[in-house]
């Protein structure tokens, strides 16, 4: 088993599949009255969050607690971090406390790679800058597999601000590893020039959402931050929504079986219409539930839980 999960590229097909299969076992557990497993009793998991992300932090916290690990939440606000302590010094502190795993969320790309040089425990990337968010990709893959029964050969459209999206990077890498065919869709300003060469050779690029939808099994809408407008990535929220938003009219272009995903938090009315988000095709709430099971599997496997 790998030691760290810093990038979806750390996972080969066999390892990724093992995580998804383990997550399925963990999910079965959540139906029981007693949801706890003793697997990580006596082990310490630190949630090191330099960005506010209640959703991701709670998910990791629930996952670690269901495995009986001791959980320490270390958030940048109100800690020594906001007084300017360096990542290295924080790492040495966590090391001294005997952290077996550190789950890190950080605004700087690559912060988990740096951290892994300074701690002995496992490092799990919970989102770093505009780089990656591998457990999000794992829970997305898990959700697709449970809804559609397979990943191999699946056609997945990832739509929106691919340039700045850690979710998109991790998903392109992981889904391609697992045999899916990924198309990234968005305005050319928000699609990196070298997407296929950089991430996965088979990745396709399209600037035309309407053309992509009829041949998609999955459409994954990315959050688009309205401040990108100020930087001229697109002229206005209205124009973005008109060209790349998923509304009811567009959703009808999808095949009957296709699902709609969003990593959250959503801008309802911007990249996704409320009726679409709340439709039976939407897996958005399921994704959150699956997140706990997938993160349990990741912690369990990385820490070699028995």
């Amino acid at each position: 088993m790998i030691k760290h999960l810093r990038s979806a590229a750390d996972l080969d097909a066999a390892t990724a599949t093992l995580i998804l299969d383990t997550a399925a076992e963990m999910a079965a557990l959540s139906g029981r009255e007693v949801k706890k497993l003793p697997a990580l009793r006596g082990r310490t998991v630190v949630n090191l969050f330099y960005e506010d992300s209640t959703r991701t932090r709670i998910s990791f916290e629930a996952a670690a607690k269901r495995l009986s690990a001791d959980v320490i939440n270390f958030s940048a606000k109100g800690s020594s971090v906001s007084k300017g302590e360096s990542l290295k010094d924080t790492a040495l502190t966590l090391q001294a406390m005997g952290a077996d795993a550190v789950v890190i969320r950080h605004p700087a790309s690559g912060a988990p790679h740096r951290l892994a040089e300074w701690v002995d425990g496992s490092v799990v990337n919970a989102g770093d800058g505009t780089h990656e968010h591998p457990t999000q990709a794992l829970l997305d893959a898990y959700t697709m597999r449970s809804r559609l029964g397979r990943l191999d050969g699946l056609k997945v459209a990832i739509v929106g601000d691919v340039l700045h999206s850690r979710v998109a990077r991790s998903n392109v890498l992981l889904l391609t590893t697992l045999g899916a065919q990924v198309t990234v869709v968005g305005p050319p300003t928000l699609i990196p020039l070298d997407t296929a060469a950089a991430l996965a050779e088979k990745t396709q690029v399209s600037y035309d959402l309407d053309a992509v939808l009829p041949d998609s099994d999955v459409v994954m809408m990315l959050r688009v931050q309205t401040e990108r407008m100020q930087d001229s990535y697109f002229p206005s929220a209205r124009e973005y929504s008109r060209r790349y938003g998923l509304d009811m009219r567009r959703m009808r272009r999808l095949p009957e079986h296709a699902i709609v995903m969003h990593p959250g938090p959503m801008n309802r009315g911007m990249e996704i219409a409320p009726e679409v988000a709340d439709s039976p095709r939407s897996t958005i709430v399921e994704q959150v539930a699956n997140g706990v099971s997938v993160r349990m599997a990741v912690l369990y496997l990385l820490l070699g839980g028995k």
């Binding site: 690559g110 790679h113 505009t130 070298d194 997407t195």
Partner: protein, 420 residues
């Protein structure tokens, strides 16, 4: 002290004896001259760096004029041009004279201050260029290095103004609007790493503009740290038209590529960023062709805490003085005439440093570097003379050891060690 270098190879020629008497190269050594067995060693004119950051005043925790001078001497340099981005900025006669005086006191290399083009490097208003030129520091190169003189009208005025005293503007070519938040070369690797890209066109667009401006006003332009294949083509065309432009390339841009960012270790973060293999090849060819005139180190020391952090928070820059000649040797082999021209003669000419970049003939100032091309050494950051440790070459096995350096006949380095 007089010296006799016995059996030395001058620029790779057949072994001969070379005498140093009273600060100049001589035909004959006195009987009491110190004899140095120079068998197998090559003599070069003392190296000259047109782009060095000595950090003093302001960041003496990263480097001082003295420690940087020692690193320079150990790297075979007899003159370095110190960049203006100190704190306070070298934008007045007072600051450039301070740096110049500190250099004299250290006495290991000639420290030639570069003056800022604009007050505080802010790109708004010309600094007193004439006062710096007339000062004891005798400034001839002006640069806002670290920042681009982005305003085209201001750049035009600066180019014109320094004609009065044969000055030259050394431009850090980086269109700032195209590089906001930039962290590394824009390309496949930046996309994979999720780091904001620094597109090649941001450099090329400024160089294209500036060669046209220099042509229009008939001024000299020097381009700092050229890093892209496209820049080379712009320069090639400008030179073919007769524009008075010179250009430098750093050792790291001649060797390293953006793939090194993959581990997010900021020791590989530099501005302009490491580029692609294609760019490296174009830069090598340009140096061979003379489209790029000189190798300049852009020696940029940084304190440990400014590099031992997240990539995006780290300062850009790399040490260069002590490894420049070995890197050039490893890239080009023992092309001694090329090395002497690009690392001593041409930079001395650009900087107006008469007395440096000579031909090692009798009667010329004895600024000499003695190198053992057959010796190899492994770069150990802890053993470098710089106060900082941010070398990208740690652990690399490099050819070429500097055995001795002479500044106007005085040894600054002997047996590979600084004399003070």
């Amino acid at each position: 002290m007089a010296y006799l270098l016995k059996g030395v190879s001058i620029l790779g020629a057949a072994p001969t004896d070379l005498a140093i008497v009273d600060g100049v190269i001589s035909d004959k050594a006195p009987d009491d001259a110190q004899v140095i067995d120079a068998t197998g060693l090559v003599a070069l004119p003392g190296l000259v760096d047109v782009h060095t950051h000595l950090r003093e005043p302001g960041r003496e925790d990263a480097e001082t004029v003295e420690t940087g001078s020692r690193a320079a001497a150990l790297g075979g340099y007899t003159a370095v041009c110190s960049m203006a981005n100190t704190s306070p900025v070298a934008d007045t006669a007072g600051v450039v004279e301070q740096v110049w005086r500190l250099g004299r006191e250290a006495g290991l290399v000639d420290v030639q201050p570069i003056g800022a083009v604009t007050i505080g490097l802010a790109g708004k208003q010309l600094a007193e260029l004439g006062a710096m030129a007339d000062s004891a520091a005798n400034v001839r190169i002006f640069s806002d290095d670290g920042f681009c003189v982005a305003d085209p009208r201001l750049m035009r005025r600066a180019l014109e103004y320094v004609k009065a005293f044969d000055g030259v503007i050394a431009q850090h070519a980086e269109e700032p609007r195209l590089t906001e938040g930039a962290q590394m070369h824009e390309g496949e690797v930046s996309t994979r790493l999720g780091l904001t890209g620094w597109p090649a066109v941001a450099e090329e667009a400024i160089i294209a503009r500036d060669v046209l401006l220099a042509e229009h006003v008939g001024s000299r332009l020097h381009v700092c740290h050229v890093s892209t294949a496209g820049s080379v083509e712009v320069l090639r065309q400008a030179k073919a038209r007769g524009v008075r432009v010179t250009a430098e390339v750093t050792p790291h841009h001649l060797l390293l590529t953006d793939e090194l960012a993959a581990g997010y270790d900021p020791v590989f973060k530099v501005n302009p960023p490491l580029r692609t293999r294609n760019d490296v090849e174009a830069l090598r060819q340009a140096l061979l062709d003379g489209v790029i005139d000189v190798v300049a180190t852009d020696h940029a020391p940084h304190a440990v805490q400014d590099k031992e952090c997240e990539w995006s928070y780290a300062r850009p820059g790399m040490l260069g003085l002590e490894t420049a000649l070995p890197i050039v040797l490893s890239v080009f082999g023992e092309k001694w005439d090329l090395i002497a021209d690009r690392m001593s003669i041409a930079p001395a000419r650009i900087a107006g440093l008469t007395g440096h970049g000579g031909d090692l003939s009798a009667g010329t100032p004895a600024n000499i570097t003695l190198v053992d091309p057959s010796a190899r050494w492994v770069v150990d950051p802890a053993e470098l003379a710089s106060r900082s440790r941010n070398t990208p070459y740690a652990g690399m096995n490099l050819p070429g050891r500097i055995v001795a350096t002479f500044l106007r006949g005085e040894a600054t380095v002997l047996d590979g060690k600084a004399v003070k």
